[in-house]
Amino acid sequence: MTDFKINIDNYSNEIVIIKLEGYLDAHTAPELENQIANLVENDIVKIIIDFEKLNYISSAGLGVFMAYIEDIREKGGDIKFTNVPDKIYEVFDILGFPMIYEIYKDSKEAINNFNEISNDQR
């Protein structure tokens, strides 16, 4: 699908930033799901999703984030959202995502948060 793009930015050994672009719907969701599955398999569980350039998310798209959240949290990681546009936030809000996922203004904040947690653990 040309109207959906995933850019993976390996910020560090532990943290990955996934930048989404275009339309995340039933057709494109499996692509993202595979990427996340790959990361989880390689024990990279600190994942930041950047929604800045995402135009649309459907229920199938929302499902992707639920698929692995329990596994990821069990492994001590998390999925954090950043740069969520208003339209998409509205969808998140209706579904109750703000209660389940941490949402940050930008990736810097999210990274800081990951690092703080690691520091605390030390």
Binding site: S59, A60, L62, G63, M66, A67, I94, G96, F97, I100
Partner: protein
């Protein structure tokens, strides 16, 4: 032979035939009483001759018609008729010669001769035309005329030789011409080409018999001068000449064409085989059945001793014998194995066998022939056959190629047909699923005096993931549930039917919407895939206290329209099936006072996320504008539906559900 033939009745109905029959009767009587009795007294030669000619004509007219009934179109059987009739004639001759009956002897022979002559002529006439493509009737008619004219003149000349002294030369000339024409006519035996080998051998003996019997008859007639009539003797001579020469030629021609009979037979069989093929395509739906018919038909080809079709799978190098003709399974298996261990070619080929182990019925198999019929990816369908024939020429290869091409077309057609049937079957099953799912939704909106309710539901595909229902616990309490499974189509519809069960049971047990939603989450979390979820809203109207209790599990907000103003209720809540723990912490039950004429609007995201060609969403703003445009909920609903159809231009991407409820405590809603 069909002796009782409806044709007999047909000719009896023919007026001309009946007249001939009557004339014949009188002619016989006349000959019997007038000519025979007075001939010796008065020298009535001329009347006798005339009556003979008339008799001959009448007999010919009658017997050529009757002869048509007995004589079949098969030349062999027709030749048999000639043989029988001449044996019959021979026995009559013997009978009259050696019996003590002297009265009417002459007459019996005359009648027998006339009958035999007419039948012989009828059959010869039919044989003359058998398998002839051109109109050659004029030669036979000419022969017929000359035969009669010569005979009549000959008869007259012998009786009145003193009157016509110079007739000798003319008669000789006429006789020679008649014999020449007869000779020409005897060359018309094209029908022997179309006989089977067995029939030809049979015909050889038959011709010898006919020649011998006819010869004996002719000899007896001449020697003992049994027939008084000169005319009949002459005609008889000509016909006997015809018969003997004709069957002599047939004998020789049959003898010479005997070696080529096999080839003609084979070509004939091939032709018939090809005709059978044309029925193949229209009869079968399954590939197996088609191949079975192919094998059956092919066994008539190329003097095939045994043939079978195998399906050979290149991936696991395994083959399966689909069907076989005239060969044992064991041998077919052995030979198939031999075929698949060699390279498989695209067109017809054969393999020479030098090993001893391949033999059947004490006969060594020297060669196996392989005709690859069809290939589907790594699956080969091979027709294998053994034949007496070891060599195949250009013509055979052309036939085999045509055969193969035809089979391929038939198989393609069968495959296309099966695809179509499969598609139709899936369509039918989806229709059934839709019927079942339509039963999940309330078929009738419950009649509740304080609420006016209108609904709209349209799945994007045959079946959908949206669901709504109404539960009436008592006169004062009424609940509405709406839910939406993420995803759509068949997968979502399975979950939908479970949701119906869950909410139906829970609404019976619990009164609190919050409790119902929490319990529902527990159940759903266990049955749903990790990457899907369900959003739901549960509303309970308490008419005693004019109160609405509302819980929202990730579903779209509830719209309340009050005095043309929109109130959006969005208590916190998470979709069902997402969280197993702490779900109840994120669920909030909202209590809300309701007023007269309040309109409650519940939708699924098929409305707000309807897309147009430019992938723009319909959104909430457009919806809200319509909601305040009227106080009649039917009107509002129709407007929303129309607008959505216009917006998405008939391209619905998600299931759509819309429910509107209007509160009126008086129970009078319009």
């Amino acid at each position: 032979m069909e002796i009782i033939n409806p044709y007999l009745f047909d000719i009896l109905k023919n007026k001309k035939f009946r007249n001939n029959l009557i004339f014949l009767f009188f002619a016989i009587l006349f000959k019997l009483f007038v000519v025979e009795i007075f001939e010796n007294l008065l020298s009535l030669t001329i009347p006798s001759l005339v009556i003979d000619i008339v008799l001959f004509f009448l007999f010919y007219q009658v017997f050529s018609k009757i002869g048509n009934i007995f004589v079949e179109k098969n030349p062999i059987k027709q030749s048999f008729v000639i043989l029988y009739i001449n044996i019959f004639y021979l026995s009559i001759l013997f009978f009259t010669k050696y019996s003590k009956i002297y009265i009417f002897t002459n007459l019996i022979i005359v009648f027998a001769t006339i009958i035999v002559l007419t039948i012989n002529l009828t059959v010869l006439h039919q044989l003359y035309f058998a398998k002839q493509k051109n109109d050659i009737s004029k030669y036979f008619n000419l022969m017929y005329i000359f035969l009669l004219v010569t005979s009549i003149i000959k008869t007259v000349s012998t009786k009145y030789s003193n009157l016509l002294p110079n007739f000798e030369l003319i008669i000789k000339f006429l006789e020679i011409v008649t014999y020449l024409i007869i000779l020409y006519c005897t060359t018309k035996f094209a029908w022997i080409t179309f006989l089977y080998k067995k029939e030809k051998i049979f015909l050889l003996f038959l011709s010898i018999f006919i020649i011998v019997i006819t010869g004996i008859n002719s000899y007896i007639l001449e020697k003992f001068n049994l027939i008084g009539s000169e005319l009949l003797v002459s005609i008889s001579d000509f016909i006997d000449f015809y018969l003997i020469i004709y069957y002599l030629l047939i004998f020789l021609a049959t003898l010479f064409t005997l070696p080529s009979a096999d080839i003609i037979e084979e070509k004939k069989r091939e032709l018939q085989t090809l005709i059978k093929f044309s029925h193949l395509s229209s009869n079968s739906f399954s590939l197996k059945e088609v191949l079975s018919n192919v094998n059956n038909i092919f066994s008539g080809f190329f003097t095939v001793n045994g043939c079978w079709i195998i399906k050979y799978d290149l991936t696991d190098s395994d083959f399966e014998i689909l069907n076989k003709e005239n060969i044992s399974y064991e041998l077919a298996e052995k030979l198939s194995f031999y075929v698949v261990t060699n390279t498989i070619q695209n067109d017809f080929y054969y393999l020479k066998i030098h090993e001893e182990k391949f033999s059947a019925d004490n006969k060594k198999i020297e060669q196996i022939n392989v005709l690859p019929l069809y290939q589907k990816q790594k699956e080969y369908y091979l027709l294998i056959f053994i034949s007496h024939r070891l060599r195949y020429d250009e013509e055979d290869l052309t036939v085999l190629k045509a055969f193969k091409d035809y089979i391929r077309t038939v198989i393609d057609n069968v495959n296309l047909l099966n695809d179509a049937i499969e598609k139709e079957r899936i369509k039918k099953e989806l229709e059934l699923a839709r019927d079942i799912q339509n039963k999940l939704l309330p078929d009738k909106i419950p009649n509740f005096p304080q609420l006016e309710i209108v609904t709209y539901y349209k799945p994007a595909y045959e079946v959908g993931g949206d669901y709504y229902d109404f539960f009436k616990s008592n006169d004062k309490s009424f609940s509405v549930v709406i839910s939406d499974v993420s995803g759509k189509g068949l997968k979502a519809s399975f979950i939908t039917s479970e949701i119906k069960g869950i909410f139906t049971v829970l609404s019976e047990i619990y009164n609190s919407p919050q409790k119902i939603i929490i319990k529902a989450n527990q159940i759903i979390k266990n049955i749903i895939a990790k990457n899907s979820f369900i959003t739901a809203s549960y509303l309970t109207f308490d008419f005693n206290n004019k109160l609405l209790r509302f819980v929202r599990a990730g579903h779209l907000p509830l719209y309340i329209i009050r005095n043309n103003q929109i109130i959006k209720l969005q208590p916190k809540g998470v979709g069902l099936g997402i969280l197993s723990n702490n779900f109840e912490k994120f669920i909030e039950e909202l209590e809300y006072n309701i007023l007269e004429n309040d309109i409650f609007v519940l939708i699924t995201d098929g409305v707000s996320e309807a897309q147009n060609i430019n992938k723009e969403l319909y959104g909430f703003e457009n919806l809200e504008k319509i909601l305040v445009s009227s106080s009649n909920i039917t009107e509002i609903l129709n407007k929303i539906v129309d607008e959505l159809a216009k917006f998405s231009n008939g391209n619905q991407s998600d299931d759509i559900t819309i429910i509107l409820l209007k509160f009126n405590s008086e129970g009078k809603n319009d």
